[in-house]
Subunit: 194 residues, 2 copies
DNA sequence: TCGGATAGATGGATCGGGTCTAACAATACT
DNA sequence: AGTATTGTTAGACCCGATCCATCTATCCGA
């Protein structure tokens, strides 16, 4: 029997196993009070193995979204000088399209119980900034001034992150995050104080 | 002779002494390569003392702006339900009014030499988010929907942070950051793609 | 069947940021 | 002199993260 897999020792644990153990512990004791050693102990692997699957403790929560954000950044870069609002918004919708409930959604929904308010604020800020920078770069390539591009990028990135948060808090699964985003992007196009 | 000072042992070091030592080292070796122990050693105090003056290593860079952001948050809260765009923008201008070159401006200007690109991006994101949240709360109190308020807060916060960055990179001191912000806030009011 | 070659798992050392505490030192006031 | 007050300090400790050498399990070809 060949071809079942590639050479080498088969994986003894998986991202899912570790993520499950982590989320359980986050719910039981809180995020801060859960060490990486606790997670690997429950998952039945060594502490060292954790970092073969996740680049950091918080990566357990964010890896799903990060992959989509990275993809979106590439797509935005590929737009070149012809980037317009519609094209950018299409990419942004892709980020949340078919976004299934995952550790991040769970964390956003149970942020209080997990004691995640601070951590989530910080990490969300980083992702917001990353996305905002990507949009800003696209806008600058399209000819906008740097500050104008930054403001526009921040507004659109906020639409994405805020939509995700609202969707997650409402109990991810009942609605489609993409629909929430559509409303948010409308708000960007008509950004008046009222 | 009384009244020369209050009781207790006089301070042996000051924030300024530590900040200077830190900035020197950041320029010489880079931010990452400089440990807190390095800073205190150059300043001639113990490592323990560092945290009597700064809450973290990065606080050396950010404490000046953080104080202004905290003040702005309070002012925004005090606006109550009567917050409108003009009142909010006035508060935002106050953040950058008379903002003198400080460790943060130095860091932004020498971000490459200090190897600060990552760290600065992360920390800027946190401050952006903090300010955006304050503006968003003000907007929600004024009756806007949460997502609309988030988008608007992110856009205005981006105007502030982006202005600060541009001002610092241009060589803080030559111009007034408040002037840069005025241009940026105009961009928020007219947030169309190009 | 044996022996690489490959991929994964592991323990342990190391580092740096940050917290905490008990002891110590210097000043003002009485 | 004595005491309260304030600041400094050493040291232990925790935790996230990196690194490396070693060990283990599987596949595949000779």
């Amino acid at each position: 029997m060949s071809g079942t897999g590639r050479a080498g020792r088969p994986k003894a644990s998986s991202r899912e196993t570790l993520a499950e153990a982590a989320c359980e512990l986050f719910l039981e004791r809180g995020y801060e009070a859960t060490s990486v050693a606790d997670i690997t102990q429950r998952a039945g692997v060594s502490r060292s193995s954790f970092f073969n699957y996740f680049s950091s403790k918080s990566d357990v929560l964010w890896s799903g979204l990060d992959a989509r954000l990275a993809q979106a950044s590439e797509q935005l870069s590929a737009l070149g000088t012809s980037a317009d609002a519609a094209a950018v918004d299409a990419v942004l919708r892709g980020i949340l399209a078919d976004f299934a409930p995952d550790p991040l959604a769970l964390a956003m929904r149970n942020r209080a119980a997990m004691g995640l308010d601070d951590e989530l604020a910080r990490d969300s800020a980083v992702r917001h900034a990353r996305l905002a920078a990507a949009v800003s770069h696209a806008a600058m390539r399209a000819g906008l001034t740097p500050i104008r591009a930054d403001v526009l990028g921040a507004a659109r990135a906020a639409a994405v992150m805020s939509s995700l948060r609202v969707w997650a808090e409402q109990g991810a699964g009942s609605s489609d995050p993409e629909d929430v985003l559509s409303v948010a992007l409308d708000a960007v196009d008509d950004l008046r104080w009222r």
